[in-house]
Symmetry: C2
DNA sequence: CAATTTTATTAAAACGGTTTACAAATTTTA
DNA sequence: TAAAATTTGTAAACCGTTTTAATAAAATTG
C-alpha cells in the first residue's frame, strides 16, 4: 500500500505476465483487446506509473532533451526556452532546463548532470569561455543557439543564430536616419554575440562614411559594472546624440542613468526587444529576434541529428526584425 | 569507442572489479588510496560518467525535485524558480522545471512525467482547477507555493505563500493616503491569489470607512481579455482616481491603455513588483514579494518532509514589502 | 478433424549500475 | 607463531522495465 506499485504488482493483480502488462500499456498491437482493457483497469486502480528510469536504461533513450541557458532572469532566454519546450513537446520530447548564471562551473555541472541523466541530446546557449564541449559531450549530439563557443574552438555541432552583424548595422543606420550625427556604443566585453554586434556597429558607420572614433569605442567592451559611468562619458563628455546598447542587461543600467540625465533628444537603440519598451517616455529602436522560428529550427535540427548521426554540422543564420517606434 | 563507457569498461581497463570502481568513485572509505587513484585516472581517461538512471533505479532516490510553474514568461515565477534552484542546489538536489502555460492538461502531464522520472519531491505553483493532487501524487511528497489548490479540496501538503490580503490592503491604503478618493480594482477571475487580493482591497476600503461600490467591482473578476475596456470603464466612466491592478499580466494591458488615456494624476498600484517600473513616467505602488525567502522556505520544508514523512502539513505566510516610489 | 498458420502469452535474459555476503589478504594481538 | 581483527577485493543478487525466443492458444485451411 505504501510502496509504489511496480509492473510486477500490476501483473499479479491482473493475473498476467509482466511482459503482457508492458505490451498492453505501450500500445503494442500484439495483445488481445480484453486483456488490454483489464490491464489498463488494474493499472489505473493501483495508480501504477511506469518507472521511466528503468525504461530508459533498457531502451537507451529517454525522449528528453537538455537545455542550458546562461541566465534564467533574462527575458530573451525564457522566451527561447518556452518556444523550444513547445517545439520539442510536439515532437514527443521533454526538456530538462538548467540555468548556469553565466558561470562556467555551473555550466559544466549542468552538462554533466544532463549526461548522467542520459538526455538524448542537448541544446546549449553557452556561457562563453574555452570549454572543450566535444570532450565533455562525448557521443551525445548537441546544438548551439545564440551563444556560441569561441571561434578558435572547433566544434562538430550545428549552430543556430541570428545575424547580429546585419541587425546591428540596421539599428545604427536607423539611428542615423532619425537624425543622430554622433552614435556611441556600449557593449559587453566577452560574449560571442557582443563581438558580432560591435562589427555591425562599425559597418554601419563605415557605410555612412563616418570615421571610427576611438574616444567613443572605449565603451565598446565594458565589463557591465561601469555602464552608468560609460553612459555619462559618452553622452555628456563625448556629446553623442545617438547610442547603441549591446544587450538587455546593459540597457537596464543605461535607462537607469538616463532618468538622471535630461536628454530628450537622444536617439536610443538596443538589441533585444522588450514588451515594456512600449511604455517608456522615449522610443527605442530594437531588433526583435524571431524567437519562435529560432526555437523550432533548433529542435528540428537536433532531432535530425538524433535520427542521423552522420548529418554534417551546419551554421544557420536567421534575420532579426527591426522595431522603430518612431 | 563509439559506445558510451560503462562501469564494466572502467573495471576492465583498471584491472579491478565493478564493485571496486563503484566504491572508488563514490568516496567510500573502504578502498586503498592507490586503487582509488588508478580508478579515477582510468575513468577520467575513458570519459566515464555513471548512468544516474541505473543508479536511481537501484537506490530509489534521484536527488531531483520537480518544480511546476504556470507561466515561464512571468518574471515572478522565473525569479522564484531561480531561488528554488539555488536553495535546492546547496542541499545537493537538482531541479527539474516544467512550465504549464496555465493549462490544467499540461500540468497533469508535467506532474505525471515528473513522477515517472522518479523525482524525490515536487513543488507546485498550481494552475488552478479542481485537480485531485493527492490522487495523482500518491506517496510522493509535495509542497505548494504562491498558487494553491482551491480551498474546497483538502490536501495533506505544506503551503508557502505571501500574505496577499495584508499586502493588498497596504497598497490600497497607500493609494488613498497619496490622495486617491475613489479606488477601482481590476483583478483576475480565477486564481487563488486573486481571491485573496480582492479581499485585501475590500478590507482597505472598509478600514477607511469607504462603502463598497458595485459599479466599481464589476472589474474585480475579469477574464483578462477585456482589461483595456475595463480600464476605460473605471477611469473614464466611473471617474476613479486610483486603481489597484491584481497581477503582472493585467498590469501590462492597463499600462498599454494608459498610454492612450491622458491621466497624469491617477494613483496606480499593482501586486508584483517589476524592475522596469522604475523607468515609467508614473510612480507605481507595488508589493515586492520576499522571493529569496520564499524559495528557501519551500525547499527547506520539502526536504524536511522527505526526511520525515510523518511531519504535519502546515501553512506558512510571509510578508510582502510595499514599494511606494512617490 | 488433422495440419497449418496466425495470434497471444510467457519465461528468461538483458540494461548499467549499487549493495550485500563472503573470501582473501594483510595487520594486530595474545 | 597462532589466532583474531581489520582491510581490500570478488561474485552474485537486485532494482523495474523491455525484448527475444519459445510456447500455448486460437483461427484458418485442406
Amino acid at each position: 500500500m505504501s510502496e509504489k506499485p511496480t509492473i510486477k504488482d500490476v501483473a499479479k493483480a491482473a493475473g498476467v505476465s509482466e511482459a503482457t502488462v508492458s505490451r498492453a500499456l505501450s500500445h503494442s498491437p500484439r495483445v488481445k483487446r480484453a486483456t488490454r482493457q483489464k490491464v489498463q483497469e488494474v493499472a489505473n486502480r493501483l495508480g501504477y506509473r511506469p518507472n521511466s528510469l528503468a525504461r530508459g536504461i533498457r531502451v537507451k533513450q529517454t525522449h528528453t532533451l537538455g537545455m542550458i541557458i546562461p541566465d534564467i532572469l533574462n527575458d530573451y532566454f525564457t522566451q527561447l526556452t518556452r518556444e523550444i519546450e513547445d517545439a520539442a513537446g510536439h515532437a514527443g520530447y521533454d526538456v530538462l532546463i538548467m540555468n548556469t548564471d553565466e558561470s562556467l562551473v555551473k555550466e559544466a555541472h549542468a552538462l554533466n548532470l544532463m549526461l548522467e541523466k542520459q538526455v538524448d541530446g542537448v541544446i546549449i546557449a553557452s556561457a562563453g569561455g574555452q570549454t572543450d564541449y566535444a570532450r565533455i559531450l562525448g557521443t551525445t549530439p548537441a546544438i548551439f543557439v545564440d551563444r556560441m563557443p569561441p571561434a578558435n574552438i572547433k566544434t562538430p555541432y550545428d549552430r543556430v543564430i541570428v545575424d547580429n552583424v546585419k541587425a546591428t548595422c540596421h539599428i545604427v543606420s536607423q539611428l542615423l536616419a532619425q537624425g543622430a550625427t554622433r552614435v556611441g556604443i556600449i557593449n559587453s566585453a566577452v560574449s560571442f554575440t557582443a563581438t558580432e554586434r560591435l562589427a555591425g556597429y562599425q559597418q554601419a558607420l563605415h557605410d555612412s562614411g563616418i570615421a571610427l572614433d576611438s574616444a567613443i569605442e572605449v565603451a565598446a567592451r565594458t565589463d557591465n559594472s561601469n555602464v552608468q559611468q560609460m553612459t555619462r562619458q559618452l553622452l555628456i563628455n563625448q556629446k553623442c546624440d545617438g547610442l547603441f546598447v549591446g544587450d538587455n542587461t546593459i540597457m537596464e543600467e543605461v535607462l537607469r542613468k538616463l532618468t538622471e540625465l535630461n536628454l530628450p533628444h537622444l536617439q536610443l537603440g538596443g538589441f533585444d526587444d522588450q514588451m515594456w519598451f512600449d511604455f517608456l517616455p522615449r522610443p527605442i529602436v530594437t531588433a526583435r529576434q524571431p524567437i519562435k522560428q529560432l526555437g523550432q529550427t533548433v529542435v528540428d535540427r537536433l532531432l535530425a541529428h538524433l535520427a542521423d548521426p552522420q548529418l554534417a554540422p551546419q551554421e544557420i543564420r536567421l534575420d532579426a526584425q527591426i522595431i522603430t517606434r518612431q
